[in-house]
């Protein structure tokens, strides 16, 4: 529900990095999206599409990669990737794959990370 401010943060990070590398154009942006971030990838993509207009990012392909949800189970001490039960949730139920418990501590899977960008820039000489 806060896709706009997230999109703005993403675009700032992309443009900062592109400019400090003398980019004339950004052709690809890869974003890692935690499965538990309260962000809808489709909405994020839509808003990014609006914000990039008239910037060097405007023709970039936006690629999303999912960050899996890493947990530690407080029932059986399993540590690793959780099972996500999202049959009736957008925000999924996070379960231990070993013992099915929901009593897990979430260690990873809530972040949004701008991973890398592909840019075009003038030849060095």
């Amino acid at each position: 529900m806060h896709e706009l401010s997230m999109a703005q943060g993403i675009l700032n990070a992309v443009i900062d990095t592109a400019e400090s590398n003398n980019a004339t154009e950004v052709t690809e942006v890869t974003i890692e999206l935690g499965r538990l971030a309260m962000i809808n990838p489709e909405q994020l993509k839509f808003i990014l599409g609006v914000l990039v207009e008239n910037t060097i990012v405007q023709d970039a392909e936006i690629i999303f990669e999912e960050i899996p949800v890493e947990v530690e189970c407080s029932q059986c001490e399993f540590h690793g990737n959780a099972i996500l039960d999202d049959k009736d949730h957008y925000a999924p139920m996070v379960k231990c794959p070993e013992c099915d418990s929901l009593a897990v501590e979430i260690l990873n899977g809530r972040d949004i990370v701008v991973k890398n960008i592909v840019i075009e820039k003038p030849d060095d000489n």
Binding site: M1, H2, I119, E120, K121
Partner: protein, 218 residues
């Protein structure tokens, strides 16, 4: 001619908020202040609970009252003679650590031993934004439907205390309190689940006790 380069950015968009949350916590700890933040659905009873805590404890409390655009909650709390800073989120659906940081500077921190934050009524967005508090309490009420807990798992998994409020209205709305408690325990077995009726004070002592226990444990 142009050359193409693949450049690592590795920028976590959530980090800016986390860093500010850490800074808020540091500010609070420098002044020996305990901070609890209340999240919950719209109208679940967050402000009522904060008013009851103010009236029934001896803490020197300051309040940060989050609201999308209005000041009603800040005014309500102010009438209990405690310092209040209202935080308007404008278009946003949650408080973030930056707004809270400004709010902390608007409170007379030297005179306080507890800061209470009321988040915007929302069971979804606050999950993404730590504020720098020591403890998060989620308040839901039976009138939102007895499937509220199972519908929003993550906020219950990441809170320290779950208050199920307005149990006086359970029969009227056909809500099964035991189911809500069971759902909450299933999601977070180590959490305190407290049922309350803030109109007659039921559950209030227990809520105050868990806050005191957490404060003592630090």
């Amino acid at each position: 001619m142009h050359q193409v380069a693949d450049i690592e950015v590795a920028k976590n968009i959530m980090d800016a908020n986390k860093r500010l949350a850490d800074k808020n916590l540091k500010h609070l700890e420098e002044k020996d202040i305990f901070c609890v933040d209340f999240v919950g659905a719209i109208g679940s009873g967050k402000t009522t609970l904060i008013e009851e805590i103010i009236d029934n404890t001896d803490y020197n409390i300051g309040v940060l009252a989050g609201d999308v655009i209005s000041k009603f909650d800040a005014e309500r709390i102010e009438s209990h003679n405690v310092p209040v800073a209202g935080l308007n989120t404008g278009k946003e659906c949650h408080l973030d650590a930056h707004l809270v940081h400004h709010g902390l500077h608007d409170l007379p921190l030297d005179d306080l031993d507890m800061v209470i934050i009321e988040n915007v009524g929302n069971l979804i967005c606050p999950v993404d934004f730590e504020l720098g508090s020591h403890m998060r309490i989620v308040v839901v009420s039976v009138t939102e439907g007895d499937d509220t807990v199972e519908k929003h798992p993550i906020i219950f998994q990441t809170s320290d205390v779950i208050v199920i409020n307005k149990i006086d209205l359970a029969d009227a709305v056909g809500a099964d309190i035991d189911k809500m408690v069971a759902d909450a325990k299933k999601l977070n077995p180590n959490v305190h689940v407290i049922t309350s009726n803030l109109k007659d004070g039921k559950g209030l002592d227990e809520i105050i006790q868990v806050i005191q226990d957490k404060k003592d444990s630090l």
